[in-house]
């Protein structure tokens, strides 16, 4: 066996270093490999860039204002003369729209997943998934238009004291947008449940639907939970729907009928105006961005861990 490795190593040993065409070729190979490596390092630099930009501006904000005013105030009015920097109204707005969204997307997404994985014929399934994924590919500005111009007027007929800008209609439309995320990932999870479990349930006399609800879905719970968390994270980071349809009035409320402002919508609101760099208003969008980044990162990591544990279990 050692002989074979000697044979493989022979040509390079026999070569005089430097000037042969092979040496030139291997130099090119090494240069290109380095270039390709640089490309993947670029993705790491992107992350570093995000962290750095957010950290620098957030740090200057905190030095000027202090973390106390950020966490222990209940009003967010950095654009007014009487400035308050309590971030909770924006967080509440984000939670509210995300809750509305998940109230739509959770049942629709999980039921769709069950349909595609357990009930539909293979041919139908082949059609369902790409069709549902169209929903996630529609630009969010289109959903924003939909929420403001179509859904809100319809809802106002049913709920008379619904404001023109409100968390409800933005959240509901966002729910439609994130449904395919849950449907697609939960379907993968259901699909990964071993066939033996279903067969064991059938052997015990259970029919199809009880098997799905009491055996398959519980077995896939880890994967389904992971899909829901990813969907919530997407809802929290979603911008245009809430910027258009949910309003620009930060307030600490759980009432979905009134105008609110989400973290993302605040960043858009400030960006639309002219804010010179270095002002406090300019820095607040990075502070809100940092909070948003940390919130979504925490959810993404949790989801990733859940999905990994689930994959190992099945």
């Amino acid at each position: 066996m050692p002989a074979s490795s000697e044979i493989l190593a022979m040509p390079t040993q026999a070569q005089p270093a430097g000037h042969t065409p092979q040496a030139a070729a291997s130099r090119i190979e090494r240069v290109i490999e380095a270039l390709l490596a640089a490309c993947s390092i670029a993705t790491v630099l992107t992350t570093a860039g995000i962290l750095l930009v957010l950290a620098v501006e957030t740090w200057s904000f905190l030095r000027e204002v202090g973390i106390g005013k950020l966490l222990f105030d209940t009003e967010w009015t950095p654009l007014f003369a009487q400035k308050h920097f309590g971030i909770w109204p924006l967080v509440a707005g984000t939670c509210l729209t995300s809750l509305c969204a998940i109230a739509v997307a959770l049942p629709l997404g999980v039921l769709s997943a069950i349909f595609m994985s357990e009930l539909a014929s293979p041919r139908l399934r082949k059609w369902c998934k790409p069709l549902l994924e169209i929903l996630a590919g529609v630009p969010t500005i289109v959903y924003g238009y939909f929420a403001l111009v179509v859904v809100t007027p319809i809802l106002q007929r049913m709920i008379p004291d619904l404001a023109g800008f409100n968390a409800l209609s933005a959240g509901l439309v966002m729910g439609i947008m994130i449904t395919p995320i849950i449907a697609s990932l939960a379907e993968d999870a259901l699909h990964a449940v071993p066939k033996g479990l279903r067969e064991a349930a059938y052997a015990l006399g259970a029919s199809k639907v009880p098997t799905i609800l009491r055996v398959v879905v519980p077995a896939a719970m880890g994967g389904i939970a992971a899909s829901v968390i990813i969907a919530v994270s997407r809802a929290v980071g979603e911008t245009m729907i809430v910027a258009i349809a949910a309003g620009q009035q930060p307030r600490l409320t759980l009432d979905p009928r009134v105008p609110i402002e989400t973290m993302t919508a605040y960043i858009v609101q400030v960006s639309m105006g002219d804010t010179p760099a270095g002002t406090l208003e300019y820095r607040t969008i990075f502070v809100v961005g940092s909070a948003l980044f940390l919130l979504t990162l925490a959810m993404n990591v949790t989801s990733y861990k859940l999905a990994k544990r689930f994959r190992r279990a099945t």
Partner: protein, 285 residues
């Protein structure tokens, strides 16, 4: 007993119906949305709408700067993101060797894919607009969008590279080809349709993005088209956002017409992607 069975049978049917409805409902909502937008905007759609500048008069406003701006952004984004993304994918798939570094890069890319698009906007504002002094230019916008779609380009390219059977690489090595020659003459030609399709889909996503461009500083009222990399710019979705945000209902019609243009553009791009994939795949097999 038989009554119980019959009841549970109806229950089963109801459940199946409910699940089928869960798939159909979002799709019906989408269909309704597209029809509503089309109905609203159809009256404004004309050749003039495509070739006019925005105006204070809703019935005379057009979408030319947005259309041209989006085209600029798309081409520049492609030029920046595709070499980087495909290069990174080749590095990770073909040179990765399961090293700790490449696993770290993988986790990092998965995380980047989950970062909200508006945070990329903040990155673009802090890095490209301010630190690198690009200003609120079309180049700064394209750089931001390029970083935004980079994880997606890497992911789809890796998937395409992974479909190339290992045995083909081994055959090339056995014939004395180097790693680079194998990649250039065997792996890339086979993975090409998949990479191309993924790239077009990523670009389609890029031109639908609004939030990062708002933060980077795309203008909302532009009466010129960009004439260079450092020119101020607008884009289709930004123009639509501007019209939607106006209180006068006449502009809502403009927004609807703009949305139709945006959706048709995206549909065309997706169609091209699917067509190319089918054609190129047939050629290979």
């Amino acid at each position: 007993m038989s009554g119980d069975q019959a009841r549970s049978h109806t229950g089963e049917r109801l459940f199946v119906l409910l699940a089928a409805l869960a798939v159909a409902l979002p799709l019906l909502v989408l269909l309704f949305l597209v029809l509503a937008v089309g109905h609203e905007g159809a009256g404004r759609l004309s050749f003039d709408f495509l070739t006019s500048y925005p105006s204070r008069h809703a019935e005379r406003a057009g979408i030319l700067p947005g259309l041209v701006g989006s085209l600029w952004l798309m081409v520049l984004t492609a030029v920046i993101a595709l070499p980087l993304g495909v290069g990174a994918a080749i590095h990770l798939e073909e040179y990765g060797r399961r090293s700790r570094l490449s696993r770290f890069i993988e986790v990092n890319i998965a995380n980047l894919a989950g970062v909200p698009s508006i945070v990329y906007g903040l990155l673009g504002l802090g890095l490209f607009v301010r630190t690198l002094h690009m200003g609120r230019s079309v180049l700064a916008g394209a750089c931001t969008l390029a970083l935004l779609v980079l994880p997606m380009v890497v992911l789809v390219s890796r998937e395409a590279l992974r479909t190339v059977p290992l045995s083909l690489r081994e055959a090339a090595y056995a014939l004395g080809a180097t790693r680079l020659q194998t990649i250039r003459h065997v792996v890339l030609p086979m993975a090409y349709p998949g990479i191309l399709t993924g790239a077009i889909l990523a670009l389609a996503r890029a031109i639908g993005e609004t939030a990062p461009l708002v933060v980077v500083g795309a203008l909302t009222y532009v009466t010129f088209v960009p004439d260079g990399l450092d020119a101020p710019f607008t884009a289709l979705p930004i123009q639509i956002f501007n019209w939607v945000s106006r209180p006068q209902s006449a502009f809502v019609v403009d927004a609807a017409a703009g949305i139709v243009v945006l959706l048709v553009t995206m549909l065309l791009l997706n169609g091209v992607a699917i067509y190319l994939r089918n054609r190129l795949q047939k050629k290979i097999s």
